[in-house]
Structures are given as structure tokens and as C-alpha cells.
Amino acid sequence: MIFLYIGLPLAVSAVLPLVGKASKRVLPDILANAALAGLLVYAATGARALLAQGPIVQQVRWLGEAVNIRIALDGFSLFMLMAIQLVSLCVGLYSINYMEHYGAKANYYALLLVMVAGMNGLVLSQDLFSVYIFLEVAAVASYALVAYGLGAEELEASFKYLMLSVVASAAVLTAIAILYGMTGALGFDGVAAGLRLLEANTVTGIAAALFLMGFGLKAALIPFHAWLPDAHPSAPAPISAILSGLLIKVSGVYAIARIFYHVLGLTPALSQILMWLGAVSIVVAAFLALGQSDMKRMLAYSSISQVGYVVLGIGIGTPLGVAGGLFHLLNHALAKGLLFLTSGSVQQATGTRNLDEMGGLAKRMPWTAGTNLIGALSISGVPPLGGFWSKLIIIIALIQSGEAALAVIAVLASVLTLWYYLIMQRKAFFGKLAERWVKVKEAPFWMTAASVLLALLVIGVGLWFATVFSTWIQPAADSLAKGF
């Protein structure tokens, strides 16, 4: 029953505000996290067994009658579902302590669950218009979550995000309208079949450009990135983690990959455009990250840079490249989720995000410092952590397909990544403990627990990368490469 991925979070989010009236903290905490945990367990166990016979298309039944809700699960969507549930659960656990001082926790969880339902729906739908609708579901929830702190900075960031997101939606909708006008179909396979019959390259190219602009804005690829460095740092830390770790990938990268591989078809020209968009994002955002002194802003620029790697990998178009891109997507989701959580712990303990004011915090917050270091090393591509393997695979795939220049860029940018993460480590955690931080305490239990859980996952993916690769990444890459 894969509809559960959409139905359960929506149902729980609908009752949460009422539950919040009865119990302000405990019940919402339990209910939301239980829902997320249930979905994770289902993704890890149940859905895999279902998928063993091949891609599933499910027709939902309601009161014994078939309703026209067709959702599909294949290797790629299952992989995305797994990543979504994994990071969401850690974020949910972290929120137990972190969201305490924001108030209205039940509402917060409800919005979080709507966002999760939106992402799940997007991943499961096999119809262009449903993709658009679920894109909006996740986006509307995320606007409110970015502004959740209600400060001037948060509201401005949220408004900027909203405005650029609307442009993205308009571009996506125009592209869908063009394709629907030509083929009279909205389903992925229907549109793809229609396009094969028509051979309308110019118009398909225009639709592709509009999709690229729309989803590129959602994925915050350079030059469409202006909203992200404001929106992601302004949100509460767990929301930053889910936005950077998941949302830009689901509503940007997943949609690009799905539509370009399964609907429009990845032409060599499109492949080149994707690779160069990725490469430019990697380099420019890495340089921008270097100059930041705001911890979360540095992480936000790093997200743009790392999404560049994912797009670069997927853009290569070879099975190995796609697998590398998807593997990096998972590694980045885990590690960046972790880094935003630890940055939240630091911000809550010290009251600042300014790296120049910190120093020596490792002595007072050993767990936070340790887990932060693990996340940073993984993203920078230090062996044996996950990020190393995925970057290695992308670089090998680039060399195999004769893109040596891009491979060199990818390697050099990786050094830049290590550089700015070391700056972060040195300024925040290493060195002498400043006088004013003597009284700083380690983050509360659930915040630390969520960070440690993610850190263990980052290490686990790195150490058992062969198993992870063959059970999750390879099936995903295969189903992406061959289509429905």
C-alpha cells in the first residue's frame, strides 16, 4: 500500500493541530515521530519486498471501488523515499528539543509532515501535472517553515523564496502546458510516446529549457540560486536540514532526472548543459562559501555546490555517472542534514551563527563537534566516508566518458570544499575556548541523538558502501536509465 506515504503524513498533519490543543508537547512529539518512523520502517522493509517483482503501479481503492489514483514505485522512487524518510525522521527527533522555544510545536510538526507528504507524492507520481501539484504542496509548507521564527530576517527570506519559487512554478507549468498541448497526455509514458511520434525537436527543446529553469530554480543551481543562501539559514535548524538535505533534491534534482530521462529523453546537448550547469554551480558556490562567516550561510552555499556534483553525475548520462550522482545525493542528504543539525545545536548553545565569534567549542560540546567533523569530512570527500566514494564514482564516470576537463574541475572543487569546511572546524570547534563560552553546555539529548544517528549513517554508508551501492543505488540508477 504505497499510498500510505502520502496518506499517512497528511492524515496525521490534519489531526495534529487538534492534538496540540490537548497536549502542547508530548503527544505531538510522539505522534509526528511515530508517523515518520513508521514510514521509514515501511520504506526499508515492506516496499523493498514489493519491488522485488519489478516496478509497481498501484491503483488505489476506496470503499471497494477503484479510484483513479495511479502511483508508481520503481527503484529510483524507492531510493528517494528511503532518503526522505531517513532524514525526516532524524529531523523530527531533533525537533523534540530544538523547537521547544519556538512554541506551537503541533503546528510545526503538521507543516513538516505536509512537506514530507508533498515530497513523497512527487516521488511517487507518474504524471506531469501531479508532479507540479505535489511540488507546490511541499513548497507551500516550506514557505511557512522558513518564516517560522517570525523575525524580520526570516519573513524577508521566506518572501524572497516564495517569489522566486513562483517564477519556477510558472516555468514548469508552461512547459507542462506545451507538452500537453502537443501530445494530449500528462502521464510520463503517454507524453514520451507522443513526443516520439511527433519528433518536434524545437518545441521539445523549449519545454526542456523551461523545465530546466523551473527545476533549476528549485534545485538552486547557479545562476538560479539567489534565494537559497537567504532562505536556508533563516529557517529553524531542522528545517534548514530538510530543505538543504531533501527539498532541493526532490523538487529539483529528482524532477529534472525523472523528466529528462523518462519523458523528454536525455539528448547529448541536454547532457552537456546539465553537466556544465553542475560544474559552474560546484565551483562558483564553493568560492562563495569560502568567504562566509555565518555558519549556516556557509552550509547553504555548500549545498549549492554539492547539488552541482549530483547534477553533474546525472548529466553524464552513463549508468556509472547516474549511479554516482544518486549516491552523492544520498551522501549529501545525510551529511548536510547532519551539518545543519549541529549548526543548530551550536546556535542554540551560543546564540550566534557567526564563526568569528566562536572558538574552542569542541571542549564544551564534544558530541556536536565530533558529529560536525564527520559530516564535514564526508562532504569534502575524505575516505572512507560516503562522500569520498560518490565523488570518486562521478570522477571516474567523467573520465570514462572523455570529460577530463570536468573531472579536473570536480577534483579541484573538492579541495576547495575541504578548505572551507576546515575553516569552519577551526573557527568554531578547535583552538582556545573563548571566555564567554565557558558556560556553554552540550546540546540536549534528542538533538545530540539525532546528530549521532546521522553521523553513524554517514560512517556506515562509507564503510559498507559496496552493500549500500548494490542494494539501493544500483537499482535506482538502473530504473532511471531504462525508464518505466
Binding site: S13, N68, G103, L197
Partner: protein
């Protein structure tokens, strides 16, 4: 055809006025006029349902909401807009018009289309039976909207501003 062009030009003029007008009330009215004309265009092009929704919801309901919001906003709260809008918008407008004239016309004429299948059933059948999954998505959007309002207009006494 001429009538259609007159309608389109009028719609564009109303939209441009909505962006350029300083008075919010005038801008809201201009927007309503623009979507009213769009509704008429929908009717004329054989999409009566889209026309009905455009006129009743966008021209009607949303305009009422805008008016109410403007009426409820206190005086002295107005934010000064930057002057660049006055320069940038016409610039964009002219560029888009030129693209439209020279590029899009040529392309639109050449958009091929498959023989469209006959409309399957009535509007209601399409909405409820064909696009059921979208309805769930729309419910979720409404839910997200309600929750956003609840969250953003909550009492913020417990939040400590760093």
C-alpha cells in the same frame, strides 16, 4: 480575430497598469479587470469552465480579499517601493513583446499536435474520476495553507529573538 486582439491588448494593458499603479486599490481593480478579460477569452476559446473559475474566483473572490486586506491595513504602514521597478518593468515588457512578436509567433505556428482524443466525459467526471490524485494534492495544498496561517499568525510571546 480583431476582437480577440483587442481583448488581448486590453488584458495586457490592465496587467501592466496593475504593476505600475502606485495606489494599491487601483492595482487590485486593474488586476480584476485583467482577469475578467482573461475569463472572456477563455469563454471565446471554448473553455467555459476555466472562464467561470477565472471570473468567479480570480476576478471576484480574490479581488474581494485584496480589497479587505487593503482596507484593514493601517495607514502609515506603506513601504516605499524602489524606483527601479519603473525602469526595469517597461524594459522587460518591451523585451518580452519583441520576443513574442518575432520568436513565439513563428514557433507557435509550428507546434505540432497529435489528433486530440475526444474529451472523456463531462467536467465533473474529469475532475473527480480522471484527476483524483490531483484532488488529493489540492487538499494537501489547502491544508498546507491553513497550517501556514495558523503557524504564522500565532502568538509569538514564547519566541526569543536572538
Amino acid at each position: 480575430m480583431t476582437f480577440q486582439i483587442i481583448l488581448l491588448v486590453a488584458m495586457l494593458a490592465a496587467s501592466a497598469f496593475a504593476i505600475l499603479a502606485k495606489d494599491l486599490l487601483k492595482a487590485a481593480v486593474a488586476l480584476a479587470v485583467s482577469s475578467l478579460i482573461l475569463g472572456i477569452i477563455f469563454f471565446r476559446m471554448g473553455a467555459p469552465y476555466a472562464g467561470v473559475f477565472e471570473i468567479s474566483v480570480v476576478a471576484g473572490l480574490i479581488t474581494v480579499l485584496f480589497m479587505l486586506t487593503i482596507a484593514l491595513t493601517k495607514q502609515g504602514d506603506d513601504v516605499r517601493e524602489s524606483k527601479t521597478v519603473k525602469i526595469i518593468f517597461p524594459l522587460f515588457f518591451i523585451v518580452f513583446a519583441l520576443i513574442d512578436l518575432f520568436v513565439m509567433r513563428g514557433i507557435l505556428a509550428r507546434i505540432p499536435a497529435l489528433e486530440g482524443a475526444a474529451e472523456a466525459g463531462t467536467f465533473g467526471e474529469v475532475l473527480w474520476k480522471e484527476r483524483s490524485f490531483d484532488l488529493i494534492g489540492q487538499l494537501a495544498v489547502i491544508l498546507a495553507g491553513v497550517l501556514s496561517v495558523l503557524a504564522l499568525f500565532r502568538k509569538r510571546d514564547r519566541h526569543d529573538h536572538e
